[in-house]
Symmetry: C2
Subunit: 327 residues, 2 copies
């Protein structure tokens, strides 16, 4: 088995290769933003999942590398278009593509990335690639559905927990699950095992997104990488806010609704006030319980997959790292 660090190295080297060849393509105004987007970096989580899953079934992971790059390019495409829709100026401490270039470039370069991801997928000429293309297309459509639900929720105060969970399943979890299943399919793994990995990925993805919600409010600025409290300032319908709206009553509820309604405020005041309400309602604990629930479900599903334990250990190590449980 490859180590996680080795897999990240493989991905980064491969992305550098791709970038080099994209740099030679015309028109530069199309490909420069693509390269910029790929160069912003990040944890390369999804491509690592593709390779890791592939490596469960075969020592030779080279057939999975194009698919790994494809899911990373697709993921960056979604970030690029989401940042336009969310009017976000900064990602990973850098200007977003539509700020660095302009909105038209961001739309069109994003489109090109969507099609590039298929072109990368198709580099490997294996019969099972058709199944991977079907999975990938279904996943891509679901990610769009998730983003639309997320935008729809902006205008609603009555989003239920189950609606929220379905939204993050679509927006976040299916791509992690797809990455795992694609890696397995490319290794010609048994379809039932590939589907078990998919289900593992869904639960891991739900835990991962819930934790992202939690860290946005209760995380440590230094390790989180984004500004703490951003979700509170923008009234984002996170698990935390949805539970607070569901569980609050009387004056607490009125105060919460007042903060949601306020147009003029000092950011730090709103963050402090909403966090106080969350504390009162034990939202941090509730969220942590939900994270634990899905994380444990994912490890349970992983245990049930009939593969040698030493094979599964790297996957378990990655999910621990994703959920910051590396003690």
């Amino acid at each position: 088995m490859y180590t996680l660090d080795k897999l990240v190295d493989i991905i980064n080297a491969e992305i550098q290769n791709r970038s080099k060849s994209l740099k030679k393509r015309n028109p530069p105004n199309l490909y420069t933003p693509v390269n910029y987007s790929l160069g912003i970096g990040g944890k390369r989580l999804r491509p690592v999942l593709v390779l890791l899953s592939n490596n469960l079934f075969t020592d030779d992971i080279k057939n999975a590398i194009p698919a790994a790059i494809a899911v990373e390019v697709f993921h960056n495409f979604t970030l690029l278009h989401d940042d336009i829709m969310d009017k976000a100026d900064v990602r990973r401490n850098k200007s977003t593509v539509h700020k660095k270039f302009d909105e038209n470039s961001a739309i069109l370069s994003g489109d090109a990335m969507a099609f590039l991801s298929y072109q990368y997928l198709m580099e490997v000429d294996l019969p099972q690639i058709s199944e991977v293309i079907r999975l990938f297309s279904k996943t891509a459509i679901e990610v769009c559905e998730g983003q639309q639900f997320d935008m729809d929720f902006e205008n609603r105060l009555d989003v239920t927990e189950s609606e929220y969970l379905e939204m993050i399943r679509l927006k976040t979890a299916v791509l992690l699950a797809c990455s795992l299943k694609a890696g397995a399919l490319i290794a010609n793994a048994n379809i039932d095992v590939a589907n078990q990995l998919y289900d593992f990925g869904i639960n891991l993805g739900l835990a991962f997104q819930l934790q992202d919600d939690l860290l946005d409010t209760f995380g440590d600025q230094k390790t989180f990488g984004k500004r703490i409290g951003g979700d509170i300032i923008s009234n984002k319908k996170t698990y935390l806010l949805i539970k607070a709206l569901e569980n609050s009553s009387g004056e607490t509820r009125i105060e919460l609704l007042n903060w949601l309604d306020k147009k003029d405020f000092v950011s730090e005041d709103k963050i402090r006030a909403v966090k106080a309400i969350y504390s009162q309602l034990q939202i941090e604990e509730l969220t942590q319980q939900k994270i634990d629930f899905y994380f444990q479900k994912s490890t349970q599903l992983l245990r049930e997959i009939s593969l040698p334990d030493n094979k599964k250990s790297t996957l378990l190590a990655l999910s621990n790292r994703m959920l910051k449980r590396e003690n």
Copy 2:
């Protein structure tokens, strides 16, 4: 062989079917704009080319129908995103998607359409679909490149004829050519013949786009469907303007540059003045010659394809109809 009208009927019925099932999908805010976009109509030229090409090699065209819908959905996706980038309010006498809904919906619904087109393509489980996916992805990337060149040209006065021809090859011709080749591939046609159809499509597409440029200035408002003179008003770098910039000198050139530079003007004045310059420079005749050149090249290529003449006659009829040569 199916008649052209029969093929259009098949396409329209199939699009209605698809729309019906899209209407049932969630979230409605994602799929309503998709349906709106597909319902705006149009000539359904590209899907007809897929079926027509398929029908050259087989009487049973049902395997080509999903690919036909895929190229139409892809084409509508490009219109949708192009309309955002061009800030166009009206298409085919209806509000564009970003005007009817909003810009975020238009971006995201367009994205979903891009992936839907792959999902449709993959409905047919044939070994040659991999080759179609490769062709389709390459084409989609080229269309993005063409759109970027077109946007780049907005800020330039020195676009050459050959740069312009490369731009319309990418933006318009490759998708027509891809439609023809895809139909042939799905029928398991010989690859050389499929490539001949592709080359025929490129030349037909160049003639078609040049004619679109010509009609935008010299067409008949009633039959053209768009407002005559729109390209002149927006300083669009059409073949006409590029040739006028290339061929003008002295006072004529100064007058042309003045009109391009002017911010405040009465539309009709600018259209009349620029048309007068075009007449002086015989731009209409030059453009018509170029259209004839590519149209004749396309019919020559069609003649060279070794298929019975009665098979090729419908394709010839369609290209005549596209170039309005139905006398």
